[in-house]
């Protein structure tokens, strides 16, 4: 994605994306509704009384560790699993009992599931032919899809004559060809290498915008979910933990689980000392001689034990003490350093043995006084860096 045209579409897409928030609009009618859906496999509950609304044109991500029920939730929409209890509707239509071949959803499989005995062309045309679409229209649609995924030259090849990235594109083209109401993507980029995966994420977003379709993606890769999705649902044990846009998931996690699962985080146990409107003062067990100030409405009472989540990139590591070391300043010694090129990660050991991670961007090529092992350092942060978590 380095051409001028691509950058231009990227810009307009960015503009649309910023304004797109139907979940905040009480008038908006959801396209997909899960209503109190439960799915049990014998004794095991994969999805536990879950309700979720997904809106038209949304790029929605289901994120969670393996076994959290995200794939089952998606497969119930495709029709490969039937809910044990509850109701799923798509565009107002009750889906329960409808077999997969009668649903207006299409899925891109993790293994791509390309038909090995058919050419790229026939793979893409497969779904259209099932609808008894007229020949000329099939050809036109297949050409259009091949162009969309830039595989015009490969139409006659068999899947085994393609590279992994090309197979992934064929799978995408095949699932898009029927213009489904929802495209389901099951770990679509898991088999690609890192660079190709990042490129493809942006391409997926472009394609989703271009076709104006609703995408539902299942992934365990939080970076992928953050990049592509309008909203993310973080799942655990068959339940939704938090459903929100990526920035809110990252900056305002609602629980330790979300804070820990999405991105890197330091979690300090602390007691609430005083509460003011829009401000909380706490004292951490790991650093009893300083107080922590967080600028947010406090979700707990004075005296409660809560958790303060601090993202590593919001912590400053310095050799000299800040102006007021009694507030929002942890002191300790450097225990380990990870040099990543763009960033350095410092593991700082506090006097009681707790370790805190802080990330520092390497803004200049040379540093006069580099921070090194066993240095005594001060880790400071601003009041809006921390998040108080009660669960």
């Amino acid at each position: 994605m380095s051409t001028g045209v691509a950058e231009k579409t990227q810009k307009t897409i960015g503009g649309i994306r910023r304004k797109f928030a139907p979940w905040n609009d009480p008038q908006a009618v959801p396209l997909i509704r899960y209503q109190n859906v439960t799915k049990r496999f014998g004794e095991f509950t994969a999805v536990d009384n879950l309700s979720l609304d997904i809106y038209e044109r949304e790029f929605f991500a289901l994120l969670g560790p393996s076994g959290c029920g995200k794939t089952t939730l998606m497969r119930m929409l495709a029709g490969f699993e039937e809910p044990t209890e509850g109701k799923i509707t798509l565009a107002g239509e009750d889906l329960v009992g409808t077999p997969p071949y009668k649903r207006q959803t299409n899925m891109m499989f993790q293994s791509y599931a390309l038909f090995p005995h058919m050419s790229v062309w026939d793979n893409i045309a497969f779904g259209l032919r099932q609808d008894r679409m007229e020949k000329g229209a099939v050809a036109a649609r297949v050409e259009e899809m091949l162009k969309l995924v830039k595989l015009e030259k490969f139409a006659k090849r068999k899947p085994h004559q393609l590279s992994g990235g090309q197979r992934q594109r064929v799978a995408l083209a095949r699932s898009l060809a029927k213009r489904p109401k929802v495209l389901l993507l099951d770990e679509p980029l898991g088999a690609l290498d890192k660079k190709l995966r990042e490129e493809t994420q942006f391409e997926l977003m472009d394609i989703q915008m271009e076709l104006g379709m609703t995408f539902l993606i299942v992934t365990h890769d939080q970076e992928e979910a953050m990049t592509v999705a309008d909203r993310i649902a973080v799942m655990n044990h068959g339940k939704l933990v938090q459903v929100a846009p990526p920035a809110i998931i990252y900056e305002q996690p609602n629980s330790r689980y979300v804070a820990d699962f999405v991105g890197d985080v330091n979690i300090l146990d602390a007691r609430v000392e005083s509460i003011a409107p829009g401000a909380v003062t706490l004292r951490a067990e790991a650093a009893p001689d300083m107080s922590i100030r967080v600028s947010q409405e406090c979700p707990a009472k004075v005296g409660d034990t809560v958790a303060v989540a601090l993202r590593p990139e919001k912590l400053r590591v310095e050799l000299d003490p800040p102006a007021d070391p009694s507030v929002n300043c942890l002191s300790g010694t450097i225990w380990d350093i990870g040099y990543l090129g763009d960033l350095s990660i410092y593991h700082v050991e506090l006097p009681n043995g707790t370790r805190v991670k802080a990330a520092k961007p390497n803004l200049t090529r040379m540093v006069e006084r580099p921070i090194t092992w066993d240095d005594k350092v001060y880790v400071s942060f601003t009041p809006d860096a921390g998040v108080v978590l009660t669960s």
Binding site: P100, A113, Q130, H160, K178
Partner: protein, 273 residues
């Protein structure tokens, strides 16, 4: 480590091959013997092959055998494939263990018992013994072999291929014919070939279930051998060996070539990426 083979390896290989192939080589050589006596070499001749093609009884038997084998292989392949699908796909239905045991029992059942019990059945229900009873009996004992071959392929079959077809609007019935069957076809074909050869050379079960007018080639050869081995039989066997060898060579060359082409294509695709 030393390169090449030690004398021990060479000897054991030579002895092994000798053990397996000397009888067959002798048989082939003596089929070209001019003498009537099997053990005395009297010069090269194709006389016995001409003789063979005049032997109407033997030719009739060969025709019966081929028809039985073809029908058996075809029906056993259909039934065996269905059984394999049921066993791999429908998880733990009630009676699955019994069903799988019953499918595979003929695999280990002594042929004499299979033959005898089928004979008793045919007598009991008053079925006239002949061509059809042999065919039925052969289907019964070859089906499990087809089932084993097809099942081993189905175990590694990616179910998401079928799900993808369903997802794209294809009914389950059609999915089987346009997706599943084409992909497992090589296994189905080898199952067919296995059933064909098993039926072709079966003597025991055929002898139990045959009736007047339905003599298969192995039965005919066996009854002639009882009157003494003639070079004519050697010639018949040589032709059978030739047919089997040619089929096996063709099949393996085809598989090999396909595999090489696939690897080449994959290398090309990887190089382009």
């Amino acid at each position: 480590m030393r390169k090449g083979l030690s004398w021990f390896n060479v000897t054991s290989i030579a002895l092994g091959f000798a053990f397996l192939y000397i009888p067959i080589i002798l048989l082939v050589i003596y089929s070209f013997n001019a003498s009537r006596l099997v053990t005395v070499w009297a010069g090269f001749s194709t006389h016995w092959y001409w003789q063979l093609f005049q032997n109407q009884q033997l030719l009739d038997a060969a025709w019966v055998t081929l028809r039985v084998a073809f029908l058996t292989a075809t029906i056993a392949t259909v039934l065996g494939t269905l059984a394999a699908i049921t066993l791999t796909r429908y998880g733990r239905f009630i009676g699955r263990t019994l069903f799988s045991g019953m499918v595979y029992a003929p695999l280990v059942m002594p042929e004499v018992i299979t033959g005898l019990s089928l004979l008793l059945l045919f007598v009991a229900i008053g079925l006239d013994r002949g061509f059809w009873t042999i065919t039925l009996a052969h289907i019964t004992f070859t089906m499990c072999f087809v089932s084993v071959v097809v099942q081993s392929r189905l175990v590694t079959f990616d179910r998401s291929l079928e799900e993808a077809a369903l997802d794209l609007g294809c009914t389950p019935f059609k999915t089987f014919f346009v997706v599943t069957l084409p992909i497992i076809l090589p296994a189905v074909i080898s199952g067919w070939m296995l059933a064909f050869t098993l039926s072709l050379d079966d003597l025991v079960i055929a002898s139990f279930t045959t009736g007047p007018g339905a003599t298969t080639l192995p039965m005919r050869i066996y009854s002639q051998v009882r009157l003494g081995v003639t070079p004519e039989i050697n010639a018949a066997c040589t032709i059978l060996i030739a047919i089997v060898t040619v089929v096996v060579i063709i099949a393996s060359v085809m598989t090999k070539r396909q595999e090489m082409e696939r690897q080449k294509a994959e290398r090309l695709a990887a190089a382009e990426a």
